[in-house]
Each structure stands twice: as C-alpha cells, then as structure tokens.
Amino acid sequence: MNLGDPPIYTIRLSGELEIGRKNEIREALQVSEDSGAVLLDLGEVTYADSIALTELLRFCVGAQRDGLPVALVIRTPQFARLVEYAGLASAFKIFNDRAAAVEYLAECLRR
C-alpha cells in the first residue's frame, strides 16, 4: 500500500507473529522497488516471538543498508516488552501511533 508522495510503503502484519508463521512473515517483509520509506504496521499483533523479531531485524538491517527509512508501529504490551527483553529497543524506530510513524517517515524523506 502506498501512502502520499513521496511513497511510504506500508506492510501490515497482525495476529500472532510466531514460529508457525515464519515463512509468511519473511514473505510479507518485501518492499517494492520505488518505495521511499517503509511503515511496518504491527499495531494489531497479539503476540510475537524472537523468530518474528529476527525477521524484522533482518528486514530493517537490509533497509538501512539501502538507505530506506523504516518505522514500526507497536501497540501491544507483550510485543513492546519482547523488544525490550531482547535488548533491541534501540535497533528499531518504534512508535505506538500510526500518525507519529508516518510523520517521522515523511520527515526522513524531506531531508
């Protein structure tokens, strides 16, 4: 899904992001060629594990290498704590609100 101009590409994952959905998560984490920035909308994730986290980290590391800003929306306490427990709070740009994430990405694109 493309939002605005310059394009913010949104990837939305919901439900339980866990080992049983590893392939699906990996496949969902693909960006289109013309994306200027990526919004990972994970606001409706009811559970996440380290397998999902590893996929997210790989995606973000790749995006950073390509100069693509990425923002994550995380709202659910289990997921937010998981990121802390894994020591990854500073590895991601996390927002608990979609508008703030979009604002951040738009700002990145303006620079």
Binding site: E16, E18, I19, G20, K22, Y47, D49, S50, I51, L53, T54, L57, R58, V61, P77, Q78, R81, L82, E84, Y85, A86, G87, L88
Partner: protein, 130 residues
C-alpha cells in the same frame, strides 16, 4: 493423583504445535488467576523454549525425523511457577551470532531462574516469581 495444579502437554516437535501449546499454557495460567503481564511473560518464555526445540533439538543426526516436545507447568507450594520445556534431542552449544540468539536472552529477562539440563535431551527449567 498429584494434588498440585499442573499442566503437561506432549506433542511432536513441529512449529505448528507451538502456538496451541502456548494457548493451552495461557488457559492454565488464567485458571491460576495470574495477572495479564505475568501470563504474557511466562507464555513468551515458554514460546521461546518451545521454538528452540523445534528449530534446534533434532537438527543434528535427524534419526528421529520429528522428535518430541514436552511442556510442563506447575504451581509450586511457595506460589512460584515452574515451567519446563523438555525434548530428547541434543543441545547445540554455540556462540551467539550478532543478529540472533534472542531466545535465551528473552527467557533470562523474564524468568526468575533458568537452568538448562542437557543430559539425555534438553530440559529448559524456568521458575517465575509472580
């Protein structure tokens, strides 16, 4: 019959069993009236330990094409909760690569105590303080 509140679940060590096993644990924890954050932390840790069984326990040798996975949870008399995740595979020692190895780290962050027993399969023994 054991008098303590206890859950035990055995299933094949395959990824599709992990979520239902975790849900069964969540129901058990609800029965025990633990608060939501504690329940989530316990199921998070158990989920990590079970994912490790699926990913690693039977990766070597592959004599048993699909091994077994056992989840045990027990309310202890002192009010603590013990959760064991058991397999009969082989524990794989390795140094932590930079972009993974979060499972045990997450478990350590939430469990009051963690013991890893590796004779005769692996037994991840976690104790939680509600």
């Amino acid at each position: 019959m054991s008098p303590a509140s206890e859950l035990r679940l055995c299933c094949p060590a395959q990824s599709r069993y992990v979520a239902p096993a975790r849900h069964a644990l969540a129901s058990f924890l609800e029965a025990l009236r633990f608060d939501r954050e504690f329940r989530e932390d316990v199921t998070t840790a158990a989920g990590e330990a079970m994912a490790n069984v699926v990913e690693h326990a039977y990766a070597r040798g592959r004599k048993t094409p699909s091994g077994h996975l056992e989840l045990r949870a027990k309310l202890l008399s002192d009010g603590k909760l013990s959760v064991d995740v058991v397999d009969d595979g082989s524990f794989i020692e390795r140094r932590r690569p930079a972009d993974r190895g979060f499972g045990l780290r997450i478990i350590r962050a939430v469990a009051g105590q963690l013991r890893i027993e590796t004779e005769d399969g692996t037994r991840i023994r976690m104790t939680f303080n509600p």
